[in-house]
């Protein structure tokens, strides 16, 4: 049997049989369908648009289209003073405002080279770890919705509400805090703050276990996520993945450990990395698992911070905040471990102005989303939803 030729993208095959007969085979004509998923679709987590070329339910190619939420963050930064940029950073990753503020502030402080009071450092770490738990709760809850389980979502939001209340109490806002300022924080922690955070920690521990049993160990949930969207560690590194995504691929990389900032070197916590027993390393379940286990580590960090935080009567967190921020000429790149990965700011100062010449944000979601095309190739439509959910994007940060 000898193949003579193919035509029209493999749908017609011409072969010569052993007895010299020529056969022409023609497959059933099929057409690919272009399916526009989003910008308004329940599982694209905001205004992401995926243009999927589908063959039945199989995704041949999925191309993400961005920019529906672009607000010119970087251009705005060139027109406003350094402290005034802090509220804008809240609006990038709006689910983890504290972490975004922290990343920006440590970058500017690096440029200014100023000393931060120890109490302020602890307040910053406690609030941003609380916010990390809140952010992971949203990630896990919406992931459950993506896979069709509604109840875990509301359980997550019930627990997140306590964190929102705590953060509202300390900063005056529930989502967009403007709390961590360059050189300090906006207000000192209230008198009972330690007690109520400790109460939350004891409240939340059993709830996290309950959530783990309800969702993570659920047979159907495991079936839907195990072995789906596998990203090998080397490819993940080449895509510059970070945060839970990279750790899900089995790379033990956490900026709180690998490039420590604030008081993290003093604290004792693990960096959870899937061992491949419960999940296949690099799949959607691994990424979910990292988030679920990280909440416990954040609780550990908060507990230690509550022990170590120095009590100071009449402490003024604004005391060391510089009146006029005019850094010397130079450039700096500062980064912090956000719930979604490495959030970095690259700031250039000309030494004369109180405004940055350039402020570039390295968004973790944007970088993680870049692998979407590779991850989704050849997957089923429901698996595409599982993959988008496991990337855990916040479009506010993707588009900036």
């Amino acid at each position: 049997m000898q193949e003579l030729g193919k035509a029209e993208s493999n749908s017609i095959r011409i072969t010569r049989q052993d007895d010299q007969r020529v056969t022409i085979e023609k497959d059933l004509d099929t057409e690919h369908m272009v399916l526009s998923m989003g910008p308004q679709h329940p599982s694209t987590h905001g205004v992401l648009r995926l243009e999927c070329i589908t063959d039945g339910e199989v995704i041949v190619e999925a191309e993400p289209y961005l920019g529906y939420l672009h607000r010119c963050f970087e251009k705005h930064c060139e027109k406003i003073d350094y402290p005034a940029i802090v509220p804008y950073t809240d609006r990038m990753d709006y689910l983890a405002g504290m972490n975004s503020e922290l990343a920006y502030c440590i970058t500017v402080e690096k440029l200014l080279d100023i000393e931060i009071p120890r109490r302020v450092e602890f307040i910053r770490v406690i609030t941003s770890e609380l916010n990390r738990i809140a952010s992971h709760l949203v990630a896990i809850g919406t992931y459950a919705i993506d896979l069709g389980a509604f109840t875990p979502f509301l359980f997550c939001f019930r627990d997140r509400e306590h964190i929102m209340n705590l953060l509202e109490w300390i900063s005056g806002a529930r989502m967009l805090y403007n709390y961590i300022w360059i050189g300090g924080v906006a207000y000192d922690a209230p008198a009972d703050f330690k007690k109520r955070v400790a109460e939350f920690v004891t409240y939340f521990r059993p709830k996290a276990v309950e959530l783990y049993k309800l969702l993570t160990e659920n047979e159907i949930f495991v079936k839907r996520t195990k072995g789906i969207g596998i990203m090998p560690a080397d490819v993940a590194i080449n895509f510059a993945w970070s945060g839970p995504m990279l750790r899900g691929s089995g790379v033990k990389w956490d900026l709180r450990r690998n490039d420590p900032y604030s008081v993290y070197p003093e604290l004792d916590f693990d960096v959870p990395v899937p061992d491949g027993k419960f999940s296949d390393v690099g799949d959607c379940l691994s990424r979910h698992l990292v988030r679920a286990l990280e909440m416990e580590e954040s609780l550990k960090i908060i507990e230690q911070c509550l022990d170590k935080m120095p009590e100071q009567q009449g402490f003024d967190p604004r005391a060391v905040i510089p009146k006029k921020i005019r850094p010397k000429a130079g450039e700096v790149y500062g980064r912090a471990e956000n719930p979604r990965g490495e959030l970095g700011y690259y700031i250039v100062s000309d030494g004369k102005s109180t405004k940055p010449v350039r402020c570039k944000a390295r968004s973790s979601c944007f970088v993680n989303l870049a692998a979407m095309k590779d991850l989704s190739k050849g997957q089923l439509l429901p698996d595409l939803v599982a993959i988008i959910g496991s990337i855990d994007i916040v479009l506010g940060e993707v588009d900036r």
Binding site: M33, L35, H41, R158, K223, R224, L380, V385
Partner: protein, 359 residues
């Protein structure tokens, strides 16, 4: 059309009642179940779903309209009635309009053969079970018409998934019901129920009278979830994947009709499973010595009460599952149907046959 004479006297008296040529009694007998279903499905099914999901999720659910939100569904219906009836410009208008109708008819026709008591039955067909299983398949046509007529890619996906799912799951479901028919030796719904009646209450139910019935019972329950598109098999309307599946484009009263059909079929499969395995309208209470509990809780009104209670119980279990479990994937659903449920239903069929021959 054969039932025991003692039970039929009551219904005969009622069906004899007529004003002139108009057979009032017959209309009442036929209408009672349907009126109940309409009331149930429109108000308390939806209300119950919302309240149960709320309690499972640490919420209160509807609380504003009426005492504890009891009138919430009524307010929703009024809202849906006032909505503009939109037919998309590019839709196939005929199919788009007829789709919800077929769906509604398919799910409600089966109520004709459900015995709601010794006397309350629309039509005691001698092939009642067969009719109930067959008429539900009509829903597929409605879903396909709705999905195709919408001219929407998501709706089409939903419709295609739905047809594959419902047609596949009909096989284990029917075989499981055949086990019950074999145990009873008849296809008439009323007769199947009568076979399970007795002074022992629940001890006469097929689920407890033989050691195999739990297998077809479980198989039918799982398949019925898939047939009514309930979680974890709500793949045709998977809101996070397909926006809303085959009814993405529907609004207003057409949407309400689809909704009504869904709750109607939920009750229908719950009633069928109660009739086939849990004795339908018979009382679960046994006579204990001189205490004639069974006799005290039997009769036309009690019969309706018991089957509705049994139906509600299964609806509660359906809701419970819906608000607990994530959704399966299409291929996993088909795997479950063809490689797990169908072989096991055949095994159950053979075992039941052996059991019936030996007893």
């Amino acid at each position: 059309m054969s039932s025991s004479p003692s039970l039929n006297t009551w219904s005969d008296a009622l069906s004899g009642l007529s004003i002139g040529w108009f057979p009032l009694g017959l209309v009442i007998i036929a209408a009672i179940p349907l009126v109940f279903i309409a009331l149930y499905a429109l108000t308390y099914g939806v209300y119950g779903e919302r309240k149960i999901s709320a309690f499972m999720q640490d919420r209160l659910g509807p609380m504003e309209v009426g005492f504890w939100g009891l009138l919430q569904t009524l307010a929703d219906i009024l809202k849906l009635l006032q909505k503009e009836d939109i037919v998309p410009k590019m839709a196939d208008k005929f199919l788009f309009v007829i789709g919800p109708g077929i769906l509604f008819v398919g799910s409600f026709l089966a109520f004709a053969v459900l015995p709601f008591g010794p006397a309350f039955i629309g039509a005691d067909l001698n092939v009642g079970l067969f009719y109930a299983v067959g008429i539900v398949a009509l829903e597929v046509v409605g879903i396909l018409a709705a999905g195709w007529g919408s001219n929407n890619k998501w709706a089409l996906y939903g419709a295609v998934r739905s047809v594959a799912q419902i047609v596949s799951y009909e096989i284990p479901a029917s075989i499981a019901l055949l086990c019950a028919a074999m145990l009873a030796g008849t296809l008439s719904m009323q007769q199947i129920t009568m076979m399970q009646a007795g002074p022992g209450g629940f001890m006469h139910w097929f689920l407890f009278t033989n050691p195999i019935a739990w297998l077809p019972f479980l198989i039918y329950f799982i398949s019925s979830l898939a047939e009514t598109n309930r979680a974890p098999f709500d793949i045709p309307e998977a809101e996070s994947e397909l926006v809303a599946g085959y009814f993405t484009e529907y609004s207003g009263m057409k949407f309400a009709v689809i909704f009504l059909a869904e709750y109607g079929s939920m009750f229908m499969v719950s009633a069928i499973i109660s009739i086939a395995f849990l004795g339908g309208w018979t009382s679960p209470l046994p006579n204990i010595g001189g205490l004639e509990l069974n006799a005290m809780t039997s009769g036309p009104v009690w019969g309706a009460f018991w089957i509705i209670m049994k139906g509600f119980f299964f609806i509660f279990v359906q809701m419970w599952l819906r608000w607990t479990l994530p959704r399966l994937r299409v291929d996993q659903l088909m795997y479950l149907c063809w490689k797990v449920l169908t072989p096991f239903s055949l095994i159950a069929f053979v075992l039941t046959a052996v059991w019936v021959i030996n007893h």
